[in-house]
Symmetry: C2
Subunit: 157 residues, 2 copies
């Protein structure tokens, strides 16, 4: 995995002090690092995060409409078209009409898709290990919990 040195938040004396206390800057830079690590790992096997997200949704909810997948994942319906196209081309999902409602497609995960999901899940577990390596188990849970509360708050709780 490549080095994310250019996204280092604190460059010692080189970084102006007002920037060092900017949580938004810290969040932005660290999220960009984490995103790059995950993206590179997934790209290495010809996947991206949207593939994982859609496969995870099908894995849990079974065959679903595109609108339902978009609703559960936050992926825009317009963007989801291409994601499903590439999953279909890879043999991981099938797109078919919904007999009950001609407006809808039903997206079904294939067995290859199930295996792909497991593969990507494993890759992301490794990414997680790498990203979280400097933290102990309690600290990992703490970080996750604190971020989750901030997220919920900003979402309007």
């Amino acid at each position: 995995m490549e080095n994310n040195a250019e996204l280092r938040f604190d460059l010692g004396d080189k970084t102006p002090r007002p920037l060092k206390r900017q949580f938004s800057r810290l969040m932005g830079m660290t999220a960009a690092q984490v995103s790059k690590v995950a993206q590179e790992a997934l790209n290495a096997v010809g996947a991206n995060k949207f593939h994982f997200v859609v496969l995870a949704t099908l894995h849990q909810f079974g065959p679903s409409s595109q609108a339902a997948i978009a609703d559960r994942t936050g992926i825009y319906r317009s963007d989801l078209v291409a994601v499903i196209n590439t999953l279909e081309e890879g043999g991981y999902a099938r797109r078919g009409p919904d007999p009950a409602d001609k407006r809808r497609n039903v997206i079904t995960m294939t067995e290859a898709g199930t295996r792909r999901f497991t593969e990507l899940d494993g890759i992301l577990a490794e990414v997680h290990e790498h990203v979280m390596a400097p933290l102990g188990e309690d600290e990992r849970e703490q970080l996750f919990s604190l971020l989750t509360r901030v997220n919920a708050h900003l979402a309007g709780d």
Copy 2:
């Protein structure tokens, strides 16, 4: 400040469980929320984060070349041109030649720039208060510290 509900990480039963344990997804969504809150607050006074970053650099280091500012802030030299253009147009900075080296410009903060920096710093302090509202003081320090350690690790420490 607008509601960031569409970036809610955990939608209860609606969110597939594998996504709920993805730290990279949590980081990405929360960073996007925080970024939007900060951006909207800054945009409301005709600024953006790059203005703040450059003014913070000039505030601490005094008159500097564009290359030095780029080096200290991580802003690409090609992108810095427009940031300095708008600071100059706003009367917050002055761009002039360096007598010692004609290759270089020297960017100098004006008094209006100093006031602007103080204004933006105050706005970002309010943003910080809003973002961190659900956490106690210890938790805020903890979150900051944990993220800083992850960032340093991914930067190659």
